[in-house]
Amino acid sequence: MLELYGTRITSRLLLGTARYPSPAVLADAVRRSGSEIVTVSLRRETAGGKNGGAFFELIRELGVRVLPNTAGCHSVSEAVLTAKMAREVFSTNWIKLEIIGHHDTLQPDVFGLVEAARILTGEDFEVFPYTTDDLVVAERLVDAGCQVLMPWCAPIGSAMGPQNLPALRAMRAHFPGVPLIVDAGIGRPSHAAAVMELGYDAVLLNTAVAGAADPGSMAAAFAAAIEAGNAAYRAGMLEPRDMAIPSTPVIGKAVFS
């Protein structure tokens, strides 16, 4: 079972709540994903807070744990303030820390990320940093008090799937005791299975499910793939070989000529 900041989680799929065609489709996707953690955000609202209120109630009814994010923040101060405001609204110390460093790639600003992580852990936040697969940055994040790491595997929303499997493999080997969650870049269930086979602890998805023709069914497909990948990792897989090896024993084979 997976443990994130002392909380035990059965499902290894974390689901984003954005970009679904309707609240009903979102609710269906969350249920069929089996996910126990969903990511949410905070935004300005002019309608007296009524839209936010409806969304707040929807999430509450789903009975899932909430992981608020700092999406869209480009500076440390912005991200820290957003985290504090999220704690006020959602009554949780959990925060998905995201500081965008580049407009086109939405690549995390890893320097700001480390600084903000240090500030937030100092204020009793439990930080889930959205980071790259850079080992040195990951080390700094752990030093800053992060007990979970969330590397991208490709740019957010790109659906490209893992672009650097050796880097992800190295990260797994380097941090055997830290829960690792691939956040961003997954496009299809086989991508999710691939990172789970590397020994990753969970996957955070949004666009791959929300943007599917049938988000509910895609959520179920991802859940199955993630479970399969995790089971395969724990069962111990064969390494690829250069030569063919007959699967049927040769000993005792009849000789007809």
Binding site: E45, G52, P68, L81, A86, E88, V89
Partner: protein, 65 residues
């Protein structure tokens, strides 16, 4: 008094943050407020006095990835 509320310049007579929320018809336990870049907890909105030129942010939950 001129306030900048969620990036919009408004002429308001509200003396406190609570009065401002009331005047703009914001209500709900899911709102978070900040003034001039600092969080203002919901418990102290009633006592939090606003000044001319204050930048007020009022945020509420939204879908996110």
């Amino acid at each position: 008094m001129t306030l900048i509320v969620n990036g919009e310049m408004l002429e308001m007579s509200a003396a406190t943050l609570s009065e401002l929320l009331l005047a703009l018809e914001y209500e709900g336990e899911w709102l978070a407020t900040a003034v001039n870049g600092e969080l203002v907890h919901r418990e102290i909105r009633g006592a939090f006095r606003l000044s001319d030129g204050d930048r007020v942010e009022i945020l509420s939950p939204m879908q996110g990835g």
